[in-house]
Protein backbone atom coordinates (compact mmCIF):
# COMPACT_ATOMS: atom_id res chain seq x y z
CA UNK A 1 0.00 0.00 0.00
CA UNK A 2 1.45 3.34 -0.97
CA UNK A 3 2.02 5.89 1.70
CA UNK A 4 -0.32 8.56 0.50
CA UNK A 5 -3.07 10.39 2.23
CA UNK A 6 -5.89 12.42 0.96
CA UNK A 7 -8.60 14.48 2.44
CA UNK A 8 -11.91 15.49 1.05
CA UNK A 9 -12.34 18.91 2.52
CA UNK A 10 -15.66 19.92 1.15
CA UNK A 11 -18.39 18.36 -0.91
CA UNK A 12 -20.32 21.21 -2.49
CA UNK A 13 -23.94 20.31 -3.01
CA UNK A 14 -24.69 20.82 -6.68
CA UNK A 15 -27.87 19.96 -8.44
CA UNK A 16 -27.43 17.16 -10.91
CA UNK A 17 -27.38 18.33 -14.50
CA UNK A 18 -29.36 15.95 -16.64
CA UNK A 19 -28.88 16.36 -20.37
CA UNK A 20 -25.35 17.49 -20.99
CA UNK A 21 -22.38 16.61 -18.80
CA UNK A 22 -19.99 19.22 -17.49
CA UNK A 23 -17.08 20.82 -19.29
CA UNK A 24 -14.36 21.22 -16.68
CA UNK A 25 -11.24 23.34 -17.17
CA UNK A 26 -8.15 22.59 -15.08
CA UNK A 27 -5.80 25.56 -14.64
CA UNK A 28 -3.09 26.77 -12.29
CA UNK A 29 -1.22 29.96 -13.09
CA UNK A 30 2.08 28.36 -12.16
CA UNK A 31 3.48 25.60 -14.33
CA UNK A 32 4.23 22.13 -13.02
CA UNK A 33 1.61 22.09 -10.26
CA UNK A 34 -0.10 19.01 -11.66
CA UNK A 35 -2.71 20.26 -14.15
CA UNK A 36 -2.08 17.40 -16.53
CA UNK A 37 -1.91 14.87 -13.67
CA UNK A 38 -5.34 15.97 -12.39
CA UNK A 39 -6.90 16.30 -15.85
CA UNK A 40 -5.70 12.94 -17.15
CA UNK A 41 -6.73 11.05 -14.02
CA UNK A 42 -10.14 12.74 -13.79
CA UNK A 43 -10.92 11.76 -17.38
CA UNK A 44 -9.61 8.23 -16.87
CA UNK A 45 -11.66 7.78 -13.68
CA UNK A 46 -14.92 8.59 -15.46
CA UNK A 47 -16.78 5.83 -17.34
CA UNK A 48 -16.74 7.93 -20.50
CA UNK A 49 -14.96 11.23 -21.03
CA UNK A 50 -13.25 13.53 -23.48
CA UNK A 51 -9.82 14.87 -22.58
CA UNK A 52 -8.79 18.04 -24.41
CA UNK A 53 -5.22 19.31 -24.18
CA UNK A 54 -5.21 23.08 -24.62
CA UNK A 55 -1.61 23.42 -23.45
CA UNK A 56 -0.67 23.58 -27.11
CA UNK A 57 2.87 24.83 -26.46
CA UNK A 58 3.75 21.79 -24.37
CA UNK A 59 0.98 19.21 -24.71
CA UNK A 60 1.61 16.20 -22.47
CA UNK A 61 -1.70 14.42 -21.90
CA UNK A 62 -1.17 12.19 -24.95
CA UNK A 63 2.05 10.89 -23.38
CA UNK A 64 -0.09 9.35 -20.62
CA UNK A 65 -3.04 8.20 -22.73
CA UNK A 66 -1.03 6.83 -25.67
CA UNK A 67 -4.19 7.16 -27.80
CA UNK A 68 -4.88 4.82 -30.71
CA UNK A 69 -6.77 5.19 -34.02
CA UNK A 70 -5.13 8.56 -34.49
CA UNK A 71 -6.38 11.18 -36.91
CA UNK A 72 -4.72 14.52 -37.62
CA UNK A 73 -5.97 17.89 -38.72
CA UNK A 74 -3.68 20.78 -39.68
CA UNK A 75 -4.53 24.18 -38.17
CA UNK A 76 -3.67 27.16 -40.36
CA UNK A 77 -3.88 30.92 -40.20
CA UNK A 78 -3.98 33.35 -43.13
CA UNK A 79 -0.93 35.46 -43.93
CA UNK A 80 -0.50 38.01 -46.75
CA UNK A 81 1.22 37.54 -50.11
CA UNK A 82 2.06 40.46 -52.38
CA UNK A 83 1.69 40.55 -56.14
CA UNK A 84 4.68 42.79 -56.84
CA UNK A 85 3.49 43.58 -60.36
CA UNK A 86 0.38 45.27 -58.93
CA UNK A 87 2.08 47.03 -55.97
CA UNK A 88 2.71 50.73 -56.65
CA UNK A 89 4.62 51.36 -53.42
CA UNK A 90 1.97 53.49 -51.70
CA UNK A 91 2.82 51.91 -48.31
CA UNK A 92 -0.78 51.94 -47.08
CA UNK A 93 -0.25 48.41 -45.74
CA UNK A 94 3.07 49.24 -44.02
CA UNK A 95 1.58 52.24 -42.26
CA UNK A 96 -1.53 50.35 -41.27
CA UNK A 97 0.08 47.22 -39.78
CA UNK A 98 0.25 47.61 -35.99
CA UNK A 99 2.42 44.53 -35.70
CA UNK A 100 5.17 45.73 -38.08
CA UNK A 101 4.72 42.64 -40.20
CA UNK A 102 5.25 44.55 -43.46
CA UNK A 103 8.11 46.79 -44.56
CA UNK A 104 8.96 48.62 -47.80
CA UNK A 105 12.60 47.88 -48.50
CA UNK A 106 14.41 48.58 -51.79
CA UNK A 107 11.13 49.49 -53.46
CA UNK A 108 9.62 46.15 -52.56
CA UNK A 109 7.12 45.08 -49.90
CA UNK A 110 8.59 42.53 -47.49
CA UNK A 111 6.35 40.38 -45.28
CA UNK A 112 7.40 38.97 -41.91
CA UNK A 113 5.08 36.03 -41.30
CA UNK A 114 6.43 35.43 -37.78
CA UNK A 115 4.97 38.65 -36.39
CA UNK A 116 1.81 38.72 -38.52
CA UNK A 117 -1.39 38.42 -36.42
CA UNK A 118 -3.55 37.50 -39.42
CA UNK A 119 -5.90 40.45 -38.98
CA UNK A 120 -6.37 40.75 -42.75
CA UNK A 121 -6.05 44.55 -42.68
CA UNK A 122 -3.38 44.86 -45.38
CA UNK A 123 -5.41 42.74 -47.80
CA UNK A 124 -8.58 44.75 -47.20
CA UNK A 125 -6.92 48.17 -47.41
CA UNK A 126 -4.54 47.78 -50.37
CA UNK A 127 -5.91 50.25 -52.99
CA UNK A 128 -4.28 48.29 -55.83
CA UNK A 129 -5.63 44.92 -54.64
CA UNK A 130 -2.04 43.70 -54.73
CA UNK A 131 -2.28 41.67 -51.52
CA UNK A 132 -4.00 38.32 -51.15
CA UNK A 133 -3.89 35.71 -48.40
CA UNK A 134 -2.35 32.27 -48.19
CA UNK A 135 -2.69 29.58 -45.56
CA UNK A 136 0.17 29.04 -43.15
CA UNK A 137 0.17 25.91 -40.97
CA UNK A 138 0.85 26.68 -37.29
CA UNK A 139 -0.02 23.39 -35.65
CA UNK A 140 -1.98 20.16 -35.53
CA UNK A 141 -4.99 18.72 -33.75
CA UNK A 142 -4.53 15.04 -32.96
CA UNK A 143 -7.52 12.87 -32.07
CA UNK A 144 -7.50 9.33 -30.76
CA UNK A 145 -8.99 6.85 -28.32
CA UNK A 146 -7.55 5.53 -25.07
CA UNK A 147 -9.94 2.97 -23.55
CA UNK A 148 -12.82 5.03 -22.05
CA UNK A 149 -11.37 8.38 -23.05
CA UNK A 150 -11.45 10.30 -26.32
CA UNK A 151 -8.17 12.21 -26.43
CA UNK A 152 -7.98 15.50 -28.36
CA UNK A 153 -4.62 17.27 -28.40
CA UNK A 154 -3.67 20.67 -29.79
CA UNK A 155 -0.02 20.94 -30.81
CA UNK A 156 1.69 24.19 -31.79
CA UNK A 157 4.61 23.94 -34.22
CA UNK A 158 7.91 25.00 -32.65
CA UNK A 159 8.95 28.51 -33.61
CA UNK A 160 5.30 29.68 -33.82
CA UNK A 161 4.32 32.35 -31.34
CA UNK A 162 0.57 32.00 -30.76
CA UNK A 163 -1.50 28.91 -30.10
CA UNK A 164 -4.78 30.82 -29.73
CA UNK A 165 -6.08 29.84 -33.21
CA UNK A 166 -5.58 26.15 -32.28
CA UNK A 167 -7.59 26.58 -29.08
CA UNK A 168 -10.38 28.35 -30.97
CA UNK A 169 -10.52 25.33 -33.26
CA UNK A 170 -10.52 22.95 -30.26
CA UNK A 171 -13.42 24.90 -28.74
CA UNK A 172 -15.47 24.32 -31.89
CA UNK A 173 -14.94 20.59 -31.36
CA UNK A 174 -15.69 20.68 -27.63
CA UNK A 175 -18.83 22.81 -27.69
CA UNK A 176 -21.35 20.37 -29.21
CA UNK A 177 -20.17 17.41 -27.08
CA UNK A 178 -22.41 16.12 -24.32
CA UNK A 179 -19.94 13.79 -22.59
CA UNK A 180 -17.90 14.84 -19.57
CA UNK A 181 -15.12 17.00 -20.99
CA UNK A 182 -11.87 17.77 -19.17
CA UNK A 183 -9.91 20.73 -20.55
CA UNK A 184 -6.20 20.75 -19.63
CA UNK A 185 -5.18 24.44 -19.78
CA UNK A 186 -1.83 26.14 -20.39
CA UNK A 187 -0.09 27.79 -17.40
CA UNK A 188 -0.44 31.52 -16.71
CA UNK A 189 -3.44 33.82 -17.02
CA UNK A 190 -2.88 35.40 -20.43
CA UNK A 191 -5.12 35.41 -23.50
CA UNK A 192 -4.44 31.76 -24.23
CA UNK A 193 -5.86 30.69 -20.83
CA UNK A 194 -8.97 32.82 -21.27
CA UNK A 195 -9.57 31.16 -24.63
CA UNK A 196 -9.15 27.75 -22.97
CA UNK A 197 -11.74 28.34 -20.21
CA UNK A 198 -14.30 30.03 -22.50
CA UNK A 199 -16.48 26.96 -22.96
CA UNK A 200 -15.97 25.58 -19.42
CA UNK A 201 -18.87 25.24 -16.97
CA UNK A 202 -16.58 24.75 -13.99
CA UNK A 203 -12.90 25.39 -13.21
CA UNK A 204 -10.52 23.39 -11.05
CA UNK A 205 -7.53 25.43 -9.85
CA UNK A 206 -4.50 23.31 -8.98
CA UNK A 207 -2.03 24.80 -6.48
CA UNK A 208 1.28 23.87 -4.88
CA UNK A 209 2.09 24.46 -1.21
CA UNK A 210 4.62 27.21 -1.93
CA UNK A 211 4.73 30.99 -1.95
CA UNK A 212 5.09 30.76 -5.76
CA UNK A 213 2.10 28.46 -5.98
CA UNK A 214 0.02 30.79 -3.84
CA UNK A 215 1.06 33.91 -5.77
CA UNK A 216 0.03 32.29 -9.07
CA UNK A 217 -3.15 30.80 -7.56
CA UNK A 218 -4.19 34.34 -6.74
CA UNK A 219 -3.92 35.23 -10.45
CA UNK A 220 -6.14 32.43 -11.72
CA UNK A 221 -8.51 33.00 -8.79
CA UNK A 222 -9.04 36.56 -10.06
CA UNK A 223 -9.38 35.24 -13.60
CA UNK A 224 -12.17 32.75 -12.89
CA UNK A 225 -14.00 35.36 -10.81
CA UNK A 226 -13.77 37.87 -13.65
CA UNK A 227 -15.34 35.36 -16.03
CA UNK A 228 -17.94 34.25 -13.48
CA UNK A 229 -16.92 30.61 -13.57
CA UNK A 230 -17.78 28.43 -10.58
CA UNK A 231 -14.58 26.90 -9.23
CA UNK A 232 -12.81 24.86 -6.56
CA UNK A 233 -9.20 24.20 -5.62
CA UNK A 234 -7.13 21.02 -5.55
CA UNK A 235 -4.01 21.33 -3.36
CA UNK A 236 -1.33 19.10 -4.84
CA UNK A 237 2.06 17.88 -3.56
CA UNK A 238 1.22 18.83 0.04
CA UNK A 239 4.00 18.29 2.60
CA UNK A 240 4.27 18.70 6.37
CA UNK A 241 4.46 22.30 7.47
CA UNK A 242 3.01 25.51 6.19
CA UNK A 243 0.95 25.68 3.03
CA UNK A 244 0.53 29.27 1.82
CA UNK A 245 -1.98 28.13 -0.82
CA UNK A 246 -4.20 26.48 1.80
CA UNK A 247 -4.08 29.62 3.94
CA UNK A 248 -5.06 31.63 0.87
CA UNK A 249 -8.12 29.42 0.27
CA UNK A 250 -9.20 29.60 3.90
CA UNK A 251 -8.81 33.37 3.94
CA UNK A 252 -10.90 33.85 0.80
CA UNK A 253 -13.46 31.14 1.54
CA UNK A 254 -12.51 29.11 -1.54
CA UNK A 255 -13.73 25.49 -1.51
CA UNK A 256 -10.87 22.99 -1.35
CA UNK A 257 -12.05 19.95 -3.28
CA UNK A 258 -9.12 17.71 -2.50
CA UNK A 259 -5.68 17.69 -0.91
CA UNK A 260 -3.16 15.28 -2.38
CA UNK A 261 -0.11 14.57 -0.29
CA UNK A 262 3.32 14.57 -1.88
CA UNK A 263 4.18 10.94 -2.42
CA UNK A 264 7.02 9.28 -4.27
CA UNK A 265 4.81 6.44 -5.56
CA UNK A 266 2.52 8.89 -7.39
CA UNK A 267 5.59 10.81 -8.54
CA UNK A 268 7.11 7.67 -10.02
CA UNK A 269 3.90 6.60 -11.79
CA UNK A 270 3.48 10.09 -13.20
CA UNK A 271 7.10 10.60 -14.30
CA UNK A 272 6.94 7.30 -16.18
CA UNK A 273 3.94 8.59 -18.13
CA UNK A 274 1.48 6.19 -16.50
CA UNK A 275 -2.06 6.98 -15.42
CA UNK A 276 -2.44 6.55 -11.65
CA UNK A 277 -6.13 5.55 -11.73
CA UNK A 278 -5.34 2.79 -14.23
CA UNK A 279 -2.49 1.51 -12.04
CA UNK A 280 -4.08 1.23 -8.61
CA UNK A 281 -7.61 0.95 -7.25
CA UNK A 282 -6.88 3.40 -4.42
CA UNK A 283 -6.08 6.16 -6.92
CA UNK A 284 -9.19 5.26 -8.91
CA UNK A 285 -11.23 5.67 -5.71
CA UNK A 286 -9.55 8.99 -4.99
CA UNK A 287 -10.37 10.49 -8.37
CA UNK A 288 -13.87 9.00 -8.46
CA UNK A 289 -14.46 10.87 -5.22
CA UNK A 290 -13.19 14.08 -6.79
CA UNK A 291 -15.51 13.54 -9.77
CA UNK A 292 -18.47 13.10 -7.43
CA UNK A 293 -17.66 16.33 -5.64
CA UNK A 294 -17.94 18.30 -8.89
CA UNK A 295 -21.15 19.95 -10.04
CA UNK A 296 -23.28 17.42 -11.85
CA UNK A 297 -21.96 14.72 -9.53
CA UNK A 298 -20.37 12.84 -12.40
CA UNK A 299 -19.61 9.28 -11.38
Amino acid sequence: MASYLYLMISMPDFTIMEESKMKIAVLSGKGGTGKTFISVNLAAASPKAIYVDCDVEEPNGHIFFRPKELTYEIVSVMTPVVDHSKCNGCRTCVEFCKFNALAYINKKIMIFDDVCHSCGGCTILCPEKAISEKKKAIGTIQKGISENVKVITGMLNTGESSGVPIIKKLNEDILPNTDLTIIDCPPGSACIVIESIKVADYCILVAEPTLFGCHNLNMVYKLVQLFNKPFGVVLNKCIEGENPSEEFCTKHGIPILLQIKFCSDLGRINSNGLIAVREKQEYKDLFSLLLKSLPGGTV
Binding site: E58, L125, T158, G159, G188, T210, G241, S271
Partner: protein, 287 residues
Protein backbone atom coordinates in the same frame (compact mmCIF):
# COMPACT_ATOMS: atom_id res chain seq x y z
CA UNK B 1 27.64 41.88 -20.30
CA UNK B 2 26.85 38.24 -21.09
CA UNK B 3 23.24 37.18 -20.73
CA UNK B 4 22.22 33.75 -19.50
CA UNK B 5 18.57 32.83 -20.02
CA UNK B 6 16.98 30.05 -17.99
CA UNK B 7 14.20 28.08 -19.71
CA UNK B 8 12.51 24.72 -19.32
CA UNK B 9 9.63 24.16 -21.71
CA UNK B 10 7.63 22.44 -18.99
CA UNK B 11 6.53 24.54 -16.03
CA UNK B 12 7.54 23.88 -12.45
CA UNK B 13 10.87 22.21 -13.18
CA UNK B 14 12.76 24.77 -11.07
CA UNK B 15 13.67 27.70 -13.35
CA UNK B 16 13.21 30.33 -10.66
CA UNK B 17 14.92 28.19 -8.00
CA UNK B 18 17.96 27.79 -10.24
CA UNK B 19 17.87 31.44 -11.38
CA UNK B 20 17.80 32.76 -7.82
CA UNK B 21 20.67 30.44 -6.84
CA UNK B 22 22.71 31.61 -9.84
CA UNK B 23 22.08 35.25 -8.94
CA UNK B 24 23.40 34.67 -5.41
CA UNK B 25 26.34 32.55 -6.55
CA UNK B 26 27.49 34.93 -9.29
CA UNK B 27 26.69 38.02 -7.22
CA UNK B 28 25.13 39.18 -10.49
CA UNK B 29 24.57 42.91 -10.56
CA UNK B 30 21.90 42.54 -13.21
CA UNK B 31 18.97 40.19 -13.49
CA UNK B 32 15.50 40.02 -14.95
CA UNK B 33 12.27 38.02 -14.75
CA UNK B 34 10.84 37.44 -18.23
CA UNK B 35 7.98 35.24 -17.00
CA UNK B 36 5.72 38.29 -17.25
CA UNK B 37 2.62 36.10 -17.14
CA UNK B 38 3.44 34.60 -13.71
CA UNK B 39 6.52 36.36 -12.30
CA UNK B 40 7.91 34.91 -9.09
CA UNK B 41 11.57 35.91 -8.89
CA UNK B 42 10.73 39.05 -6.90
CA UNK B 43 9.29 36.84 -4.15
CA UNK B 44 12.74 35.49 -3.28
CA UNK B 45 14.84 38.47 -4.32
CA UNK B 46 13.67 40.67 -1.51
CA UNK B 47 14.19 44.32 -2.22
CA UNK B 48 14.93 47.12 0.16
CA UNK B 49 13.55 49.88 -2.02
CA UNK B 50 10.35 50.24 -3.95
CA UNK B 51 10.72 49.74 -7.70
CA UNK B 52 10.30 52.40 -10.31
CA UNK B 53 7.00 51.53 -11.98
CA UNK B 54 5.93 52.31 -15.53
CA UNK B 55 2.63 51.42 -17.17
CA UNK B 56 3.05 49.09 -20.10
CA UNK B 57 0.92 49.95 -23.09
CA UNK B 58 -0.10 46.90 -25.09
CA UNK B 59 -1.68 46.93 -28.51
CA UNK B 60 -4.65 49.19 -27.85
CA UNK B 61 -8.33 48.23 -27.82
CA UNK B 62 -11.09 49.29 -30.18
CA UNK B 63 -14.15 51.14 -28.90
CA UNK B 64 -17.40 51.74 -30.75
CA UNK B 65 -19.18 55.04 -30.32
CA UNK B 66 -22.82 53.95 -30.22
CA UNK B 67 -24.00 57.48 -31.10
CA UNK B 68 -22.18 57.32 -34.41
CA UNK B 69 -22.66 53.61 -35.12
CA UNK B 70 -25.15 52.92 -37.91
CA UNK B 71 -25.41 49.19 -37.06
CA UNK B 72 -24.15 48.06 -40.47
CA UNK B 73 -22.23 45.15 -38.91
CA UNK B 74 -19.28 45.41 -41.28
CA UNK B 75 -16.80 45.54 -38.37
CA UNK B 76 -18.13 42.24 -37.04
CA UNK B 77 -17.72 40.59 -40.45
CA UNK B 78 -14.19 41.89 -40.95
CA UNK B 79 -12.85 41.25 -37.43
CA UNK B 80 -10.49 38.26 -37.54
CA UNK B 81 -10.59 37.81 -33.77
CA UNK B 82 -14.36 37.52 -33.20
CA UNK B 83 -14.01 40.52 -30.92
CA UNK B 84 -17.15 42.35 -32.01
CA UNK B 85 -20.39 41.18 -30.46
CA UNK B 86 -23.94 42.32 -31.03
CA UNK B 87 -25.85 42.80 -27.80
CA UNK B 88 -29.34 44.33 -27.67
CA UNK B 89 -29.08 45.79 -31.19
CA UNK B 90 -25.74 47.39 -30.31
CA UNK B 91 -22.26 46.44 -31.47
CA UNK B 92 -19.63 46.21 -28.75
CA UNK B 93 -15.98 45.24 -28.55
CA UNK B 94 -14.93 42.35 -26.35
CA UNK B 95 -11.69 43.79 -24.98
CA UNK B 96 -10.27 40.35 -24.14
CA UNK B 97 -10.53 39.22 -27.75
CA UNK B 98 -9.53 42.52 -29.39
CA UNK B 99 -5.91 42.53 -30.54
CA UNK B 100 -5.89 46.21 -31.48
CA UNK B 101 -5.17 45.58 -35.17
CA UNK B 102 -7.28 48.57 -36.25
CA UNK B 103 -9.16 46.89 -39.11
CA UNK B 104 -12.56 47.92 -37.71
CA UNK B 105 -11.41 51.50 -37.27
CA UNK B 106 -10.16 51.63 -40.85
CA UNK B 107 -13.23 50.16 -42.53
CA UNK B 108 -16.02 51.85 -40.51
CA UNK B 109 -17.88 54.18 -42.87
CA UNK B 110 -19.52 55.99 -39.99
CA UNK B 111 -16.15 56.63 -38.33
CA UNK B 112 -17.66 55.27 -35.14
CA UNK B 113 -14.67 53.16 -34.10
CA UNK B 114 -11.38 54.23 -32.61
CA UNK B 115 -8.50 52.21 -31.16
CA UNK B 116 -7.47 53.60 -27.78
CA UNK B 117 -4.21 52.93 -25.89
CA UNK B 118 -4.61 50.22 -23.31
CA UNK B 119 -2.59 49.54 -20.17
CA UNK B 120 -1.71 45.87 -20.48
CA UNK B 121 0.66 45.55 -17.57
CA UNK B 122 3.32 47.16 -15.45
CA UNK B 123 7.09 47.31 -15.80
CA UNK B 124 9.13 47.42 -12.59
CA UNK B 125 12.79 48.33 -12.17
CA UNK B 126 14.57 47.85 -8.84
CA UNK B 127 17.86 49.71 -8.42
CA UNK B 128 19.65 48.85 -5.22
CA UNK B 129 23.07 47.23 -4.98
CA UNK B 130 21.94 45.53 -8.17
CA UNK B 131 19.51 46.13 -11.00
CA UNK B 132 16.43 43.92 -11.28
CA UNK B 133 14.02 44.30 -14.17
CA UNK B 134 10.62 42.61 -13.97
CA UNK B 135 7.02 43.09 -15.05
CA UNK B 136 3.50 41.85 -14.51
CA UNK B 137 1.19 41.35 -17.46
CA UNK B 138 -2.43 42.26 -16.81
CA UNK B 139 -4.66 39.26 -16.62
CA UNK B 140 -5.93 38.10 -19.99
CA UNK B 141 -3.65 40.28 -22.01
CA UNK B 142 -2.21 38.89 -25.22
CA UNK B 143 0.96 40.88 -25.70
CA UNK B 144 3.41 39.08 -23.42
CA UNK B 145 6.14 38.91 -26.07
CA UNK B 146 6.23 42.68 -26.41
CA UNK B 147 6.38 43.10 -22.61
CA UNK B 148 9.28 40.61 -22.39
CA UNK B 149 11.16 42.74 -24.93
CA UNK B 150 10.48 45.79 -22.73
CA UNK B 151 11.80 43.99 -19.61
CA UNK B 152 15.05 43.20 -21.43
CA UNK B 153 15.32 46.70 -22.87
CA UNK B 154 14.91 48.12 -19.38
CA UNK B 155 17.81 45.98 -18.17
CA UNK B 156 19.99 46.99 -21.14
CA UNK B 157 19.30 50.69 -20.67
CA UNK B 158 20.26 50.54 -16.99
CA UNK B 159 23.94 50.55 -18.09
CA UNK B 160 25.30 48.22 -15.51
CA UNK B 161 28.97 47.45 -15.39
CA UNK B 162 28.82 43.72 -14.83
CA UNK B 163 30.05 40.56 -16.51
CA UNK B 164 26.91 38.47 -16.32
CA UNK B 165 23.16 38.97 -16.30
CA UNK B 166 20.75 36.20 -15.27
CA UNK B 167 17.34 36.09 -16.93
CA UNK B 168 14.53 33.89 -15.62
CA UNK B 169 12.31 32.78 -18.50
CA UNK B 170 8.75 31.58 -18.89
CA UNK B 171 7.42 28.07 -19.55
CA UNK B 172 6.26 26.99 -22.99
CA UNK B 173 7.66 27.72 -26.44
CA UNK B 174 5.40 30.59 -27.57
CA UNK B 175 5.70 34.35 -27.88
CA UNK B 176 7.21 35.25 -24.45
CA UNK B 177 9.84 32.52 -24.84
CA UNK B 178 10.70 33.55 -28.40
CA UNK B 179 10.93 37.19 -27.31
CA UNK B 180 13.20 36.26 -24.39
CA UNK B 181 15.57 34.31 -26.68
CA UNK B 182 16.59 37.29 -28.79
CA UNK B 183 19.96 38.75 -27.87
CA UNK B 184 20.93 36.30 -25.11
CA UNK B 185 24.34 34.60 -25.15
CA UNK B 186 23.27 31.22 -23.84
CA UNK B 187 20.26 29.23 -22.63
CA UNK B 188 20.32 26.89 -19.65
CA UNK B 189 17.45 24.39 -19.81
CA UNK B 190 16.27 23.08 -16.45
CA UNK B 191 14.71 19.74 -17.27
CA UNK B 192 12.87 17.21 -15.13
CA UNK B 193 13.18 13.40 -15.35
CA UNK B 194 9.58 12.69 -16.39
CA UNK B 195 8.30 11.69 -19.82
CA UNK B 196 6.44 15.02 -19.94
CA UNK B 197 9.63 16.87 -18.98
CA UNK B 198 11.58 15.10 -21.71
CA UNK B 199 8.95 15.80 -24.38
CA UNK B 200 8.85 19.49 -23.41
CA UNK B 201 12.65 19.67 -23.30
CA UNK B 202 12.87 18.44 -26.89
CA UNK B 203 10.41 21.14 -27.99
CA UNK B 204 12.29 23.95 -26.22
CA UNK B 205 15.64 22.70 -27.63
CA UNK B 206 14.12 22.75 -31.13
CA UNK B 207 12.82 26.29 -30.50
CA UNK B 208 16.20 27.54 -29.20
CA UNK B 209 17.93 25.96 -32.20
CA UNK B 210 15.60 27.77 -34.61
CA UNK B 211 16.89 31.01 -33.14
CA UNK B 212 20.48 29.71 -33.11
CA UNK B 213 21.13 30.24 -29.39
CA UNK B 214 23.77 28.11 -27.64
CA UNK B 215 22.06 25.72 -25.22
CA UNK B 216 23.16 23.66 -22.18
CA UNK B 217 21.01 21.34 -20.05
CA UNK B 218 20.77 20.33 -16.38
CA UNK B 219 18.33 17.95 -14.67
CA UNK B 220 16.50 18.97 -11.52
CA UNK B 221 15.02 16.43 -9.05
CA UNK B 222 17.15 13.86 -10.93
CA UNK B 223 16.78 11.15 -8.28
CA UNK B 224 12.97 11.04 -8.59
CA UNK B 225 13.49 8.96 -11.75
CA UNK B 226 17.05 7.88 -12.51
CA UNK B 227 16.14 6.05 -15.71
CA UNK B 228 14.66 9.19 -17.22
CA UNK B 229 17.66 11.24 -16.03
CA UNK B 230 19.93 8.92 -17.99
CA UNK B 231 17.61 9.30 -21.01
CA UNK B 232 18.02 13.08 -20.79
CA UNK B 233 21.81 12.78 -20.61
CA UNK B 234 21.79 10.54 -23.68
CA UNK B 235 19.51 12.96 -25.54
CA UNK B 236 21.98 15.77 -24.83
CA UNK B 237 24.74 13.66 -26.40
CA UNK B 238 22.50 13.08 -29.42
CA UNK B 239 21.73 16.79 -29.81
CA UNK B 240 25.41 17.59 -29.09
CA UNK B 241 24.48 19.83 -26.17
CA UNK B 242 26.63 20.21 -23.04
CA UNK B 243 25.11 18.53 -20.01
CA UNK B 244 25.99 20.59 -16.94
CA UNK B 245 24.80 18.40 -14.09
CA UNK B 246 22.21 16.75 -11.88
CA UNK B 247 20.41 18.45 -8.99
CA UNK B 248 18.76 16.12 -6.44
CA UNK B 249 15.22 16.45 -5.10
CA UNK B 250 15.41 18.35 -1.83
CA UNK B 251 12.41 19.24 0.33
CA UNK B 252 14.44 22.19 1.67
CA UNK B 253 13.70 23.95 -1.62
CA UNK B 254 10.02 24.32 -0.65
CA UNK B 255 11.05 25.58 2.79
CA UNK B 256 13.51 28.08 1.31
CA UNK B 257 10.92 29.40 -1.15
CA UNK B 258 8.35 29.79 1.62
CA UNK B 259 10.86 31.83 3.63
CA UNK B 260 11.47 34.00 0.56
CA UNK B 261 15.06 32.81 0.30
CA UNK B 262 17.25 31.23 -2.33
CA UNK B 263 18.20 27.59 -1.82
CA UNK B 264 21.92 28.46 -1.71
CA UNK B 265 21.33 30.38 1.51
CA UNK B 266 20.58 26.99 3.07
CA UNK B 267 23.21 24.34 3.64
CA UNK B 268 21.63 21.28 2.08
CA UNK B 269 21.91 18.53 -0.49
CA UNK B 270 20.74 20.57 -3.47
CA UNK B 271 23.14 23.44 -2.73
CA UNK B 272 26.37 21.66 -3.63
CA UNK B 273 24.83 20.26 -6.80
CA UNK B 274 23.60 23.69 -7.91
CA UNK B 275 27.07 25.14 -7.23
CA UNK B 276 28.60 22.55 -9.53
CA UNK B 277 25.97 23.22 -12.25
CA UNK B 278 26.69 26.92 -11.85
CA UNK B 279 30.47 26.53 -12.26
CA UNK B 280 30.12 24.40 -15.38
CA UNK B 281 27.53 26.74 -16.93
CA UNK B 282 29.59 29.88 -16.31
CA UNK B 283 32.70 28.20 -17.73
CA UNK B 284 30.89 27.43 -20.96
CA UNK B 285 29.30 30.90 -21.06
CA UNK B 286 32.75 32.51 -20.77
CA UNK B 287 34.42 30.43 -23.48
Amino acid sequence: MKKLLILSGKGGTGKTTVASAFIKLSSAKAFADCDVDAPNLHLIMQQKLEPKKIDYLGMGKAKIDSEKCVNCGLCQIKCSFDAIKKYKECYNVDAYSCEGCGVCEAICYARAIKVYPDIAGELMLYKNDFTFSTAQLKMGSGTSGKLVTEVKKQLDLAEINTKIAIIDGSPGIGCPVIASLSGVDMVLIVSEPSLSGISDMKRIISTAQKFAVKTVVCVNKYDTNLENTIKIEKLCEEFELDFVGRIPFDSNVVKAVNKGKSIVEFDCLATDAIKSVFDKTINILNT
